[in-house]
Symmetry: C2
Subunit: 229 residues, 2 copies
DNA sequence: TGTCACAATATGTCTATACTTATTTTTGTG
DNA sequence: CACAAAAATAAGTATAGACATATTGTGACA
């Protein structure tokens, strides 16, 4: 029970009390200063521990209001969305890449709206296929703001996905995950039956209010996105 | 430029340098102590800022090794998986709930493997439908460890989803997101066409090595899971 | 009774210092 | 030269003290 009091040990004890309902949901827990006295450590150490639990969604903290146990402990599933090549390699498959088309066009309304563009803007449209062991794995349909990416950059051998991750910094964006049936074109490209249930991700990326890119990733049937908490 | 040096301002400046490639990907950045001197603040403040960026995946930090800019800035999409009722209400719909069945059975192999159970264990099987404005929204197919949840608990009016979130603490688990075609039964329950592309989540929950519950949530067509970074 | 100003309070943050720990580099030895 | 022991290093963490900031509560005043 003795030994050095680390913020992790304080967090562990606080977590125990929450789980054991010694601190029931919705109730106020003792102040930092009191806990510091009880645990025999500095207030900063308690602060670190409780802040961590608050970030995890188990506590609600407010100045002057004190700290209370969250009524609805939010589970935050975080998962890493990085380079598709890594995803494929992590699954133990050989990576393949194929550029399907690279044009400049007026994006459809949905894309224009998502990126907050006006009517006239033309964008670079890149379509590419990612392969796992030679089999179609994921279709990347991307619109890129040409003002931010030089036309010299070729996506013949390196995917736009990888190039952008490595070369563009970005501040934010949003993700939409959904299931979609394979239409004619998708079925052909991904080598699956028409109407097959496909997992898809729409991602929009901004850098300080400026639209960078919008992409739809459509995965071949059987794809499973995994994460641990 | 002046004013108090907060850890947020240090983080902002570090972020700017990363984005501006003053600190290029893969390169070492100055030590905490040096940065503290440069910014005119305590090392703890720099530590807080850099730790935050490291958690966000933009920096890699190692003791003695120093801090370097991540080569593959991992995007961590975090989203909140809480109570389905809240999800429906947040979308502006009225919530409805319907218990379909509540039995005790031997779980199928896939579930047994996911929960690391032996052959003989029987589990409580609960099937329920979540409705949005009276329309089927999400089918919850759940297996619960009866050793951890009293048989008295009824899921007639409150969903197992909600009861477990509120009453069971848990330490961890994993999530799998995928797309699946609607089979006969699913199509009937979710009131959609057979073969429709459905978004689904498999979730397994443990508490200190003990399996608590495994659940499959299958959403009606058109469901979109959204998150912002 | 309403409301505005002000005091009280709990968390948020910064500082300076010290010590710990993981890891690399250097040095010493067989 | 190989390998192990020792030194150096940079981040990780703890502490006491101080001040900042948001909120809540309270009391004076109209």
């Amino acid at each position: 029970m003795d030994g050095p009091v680390t913020w992790q040990s304080v967090r562990a004890e606080a977590l125990r009390r929450i789980r054991a309902r010694e601190w029931p949901p919705g109730s106020q827990i003792p102040h930092e200063a009191d806990l510091a006295t009880e645990f025999g450590c500095a207030r900063a150490t308690v602060n670190r521990a409780l802040r961590d639990l608050a970030e995890a969604g188990l506590l609600d903290r407010r100045r002057k209001g004190g700290t209370r146990v969250s009524l609805t402990p939010v589970r935050k599933a975080t998962f890493e969305i990085a380079i598709i090549r890594h995803d494929i390699e992590a699954r133990g498959h050989g990576y393949g890449y194929q550029l399907l088309s690279d044009t400049c066009d007026r994006p459809p309304d949905t894309i224009r709206k998502a990126l907050k563009l006006d009517d006239t803007t033309r964008m670079r449209a890149v379509q590419a296929l990612h392969l796992a062991d030679g089999q179609p794995f994921c279709l990347e349909m991307r619109w890129i703001n040409p003002a931010l990416v030089s036309a010299d950059v070729s996506f013949e051998t390196t995917s736009a996905n990888e190039w952008l991750v490595r070369n563009m910094s970005y501040s934010g964006g949003d993700f939409i995950f959904y299931a979609t049936p394979a239409d004619d074109a998708l079925a052909k490209v991904l080598d699956c039956a028409q109407g097959a249930a496909l997992f898809a991700i729409d991602r929009t990326t901004f850098s300080e209010q400026h639209p960078i890119t919008a992409v739809t990733l459509t995965y071949a049937p059987g794809y499973r996105m995994f994460t641990q908490v």
